[in-house]
């Protein structure tokens, strides 16, 4: 199991479009993927879960990967967060 802490970079925050993209990306991998914000630990493969986080710009969140392809999943997911979901920062 690996953990990484990232922050939300784009101005609009974690809204519907990036939430859907995160879920889509996570579902590519076999590993389990959880997102933790202020103690709330939700399944990153669930669109409702990810949207529940309502994470605004600047919010630190923790990503948890667990499974056979966790390294690759972590790499791609962290990269997507770092890019600010390919949106205006």
């Amino acid at each position: 199991m690996i953990h990484r802490t990232v922050t939300i970079k784009n101005r609009a925050g974690l809204h519907t479009r990036p939430a859907a993209a995160i879920v889509k990306l996570a579902s590519k991998f076999q590993s389990e993927f959880y997102i933790i914000k202020e103690g709330f630990r939700i399944n990153g493969k669930s669109i409702i879960g990810v949207m529940t986080l309502a994470a605004a710009q600047g919010t630190p969140i923790e990503l948890e990967f667990d499974g056979p392809d966790e390294e690759q999943a972590m790499k791609e997911m962290v990269e997507y967060f770092e890019k600010g979901f390919e949106e205006e920062i």
């Binding site: 579902s27 389990e32 959880y34 933790i36 202020e38 103690g39 709330f40 630990r41 939700i42 399944n43 493969k45 669930s46 669109i47 409702i48 879960g49 949207m51 529940t52 309502a54 667990d66 056979p68």
Partner: protein
């Protein structure tokens, strides 16, 4: 094969829950949430509404008023019942102010006066100065303490978020868990279609109540939205109406959906009851392997009905075991039953 077994052995993600424990609430929040229910009125100290309540226990400050402040749990809500009020009334104004000032010199979050007893204006002035909100309720102490404790317990009890689908099936709170994509939401939808009620899908907030009760609810944002893969989001309340939903339910059975494993040990008789823990509370736990041709929805209904039967004192697996024992005992050594028919002789019944 080794890989399969490893995955199977690894505890599923839903178990690694983190308890969320609230550390404090503001007096303002306490007032807003309870003013109508507990008929609270603010008598003084409105400037102290930002004070923090950090303990779910209450305190009767009788001894502190009498002058003994050792072990005074001043950080709790202070309840002024008849004892405190009548003691104060027995004092001269000067003594009264002195006794009350000692108490008010501590950082008390707030004071609740019961039985509409009120407090002298001189004492209320001290509270204004010390920024200690004073509330009055018309309820007598026993009732007020009961209401307030229940509220505070609810606010301070540990909570956690479980990834699963939570449905009221025949009045039994059934929580479906399992890896994403295994079909929890589909089972929930199927159950709704059959007249059962959805509590929450995907994000289930579980709160401990008392020692051994877990209450499950959805989050305010999600309410009764659901994601059905291939369709997207649907709103169960809009689609199926008010009868298809409820806000909260006690978590009574956990049903874990999983792929069938040939080497998995599944209960066959139901005599060996297993439990799973959420927030340290043991909840009956059924592992349900998914195989072709198996209707999970109907099985979920049977699980709920079986739970109800057990709750009302009937246990099918025990009864079967007892019957078997009786047969073995009766026939003893002579002749062991080869499974006699229910009806020994059909007569002329050819139907």
């Amino acid at each position: 094969m080794g890989k399969e077994t490893k995955q199977y052995d690894r505890p599923s993600g839903w178990r690694n829950t983190q308890p969320i424990q609230r550390e404090s609430i503001t007096v303002q929040h306490f007032y807003d949430a309870t003013r109508e229910r507990f008929r609270l009125t603010l008598l003084a100290g409105g400037e102290g509404l930002a004070n923090l309540i950090t303990d779910k226990s209450l305190h009767r400050p009788g001894l502190a008023l009498a002058g003994y402040v050792g072990l005074f749990t001043y950080h709790r809500i202070q309840i002024f019942g008849n004892t405190e009020i009548f003691y104060l009334r027995s004092l001269t104004l000067e003594e009264k102010i002195k006794a009350f000032s000692t108490l008010a010199s501590f950082s008390i979050p707030c004071i609740v006066v019961t039985s509409s007893n009120g407090l002298d204006p001189e004492l209320l002035a001290i509270c204004d100065e010390r920024k200690i909100p004073v509330f009055e309720t018309k309820f007598e102490t026993t009732k007020a303490v009961y209401f307030l404790s229940d509220f505070l317990e609810d606010q301070f009890n540990p909570q956690t978020v479980i990834h699963g689908a939570f449905v009221d099936v025949y009045g039994v709170g059934v929580l479906f868990v399992g890896r994403s994509g295994i079909g929890k939401s589909e089972v929930a939808l199927d159950l709704i279609e059959r007249g059962h009620r959805l509590v929450a899908d995907d994000v289930v907030m579980v709160t401990q109540k008392g020692e051994s009760i877990l209450m499950g609810a959805g989050t305010d944002l999600v309410r009764h939205f659901m994601e059905i893969r291939g369709l997207g989001l649907i709103n169960v309340r809009e689609m199926f109406g008010i009868r298809a939903i409820r806000f909260q339910k006690r978590v009574e059975v956990i049903v874990e959906l999983e792929e069938w494993h040939a080497d998995g040990e599944y209960t066959r008789t139901g005599l060996d009851e297993s439990t799973a823990q959420i927030l340290g509370v043991d909840i009956p736990h059924v592992r349900l392997p998914i195989v072709t041709g198996k209707n999970i929805t109907v099985i979920a209904e049977v699980i709920a009905l079986n739970y109800l039967l057990k709750h009302y004192g009937y246990d099918a697996s025990r009864e079967f075991a007892t019957k078997l024992e009786q047969v073995l005992l009766k026939k003893g050594g002579e002749k062991v039953s080869r499974g006699d028919r229910v009806i020994p002789y059909f007569e002329h019944d050819f139907e």
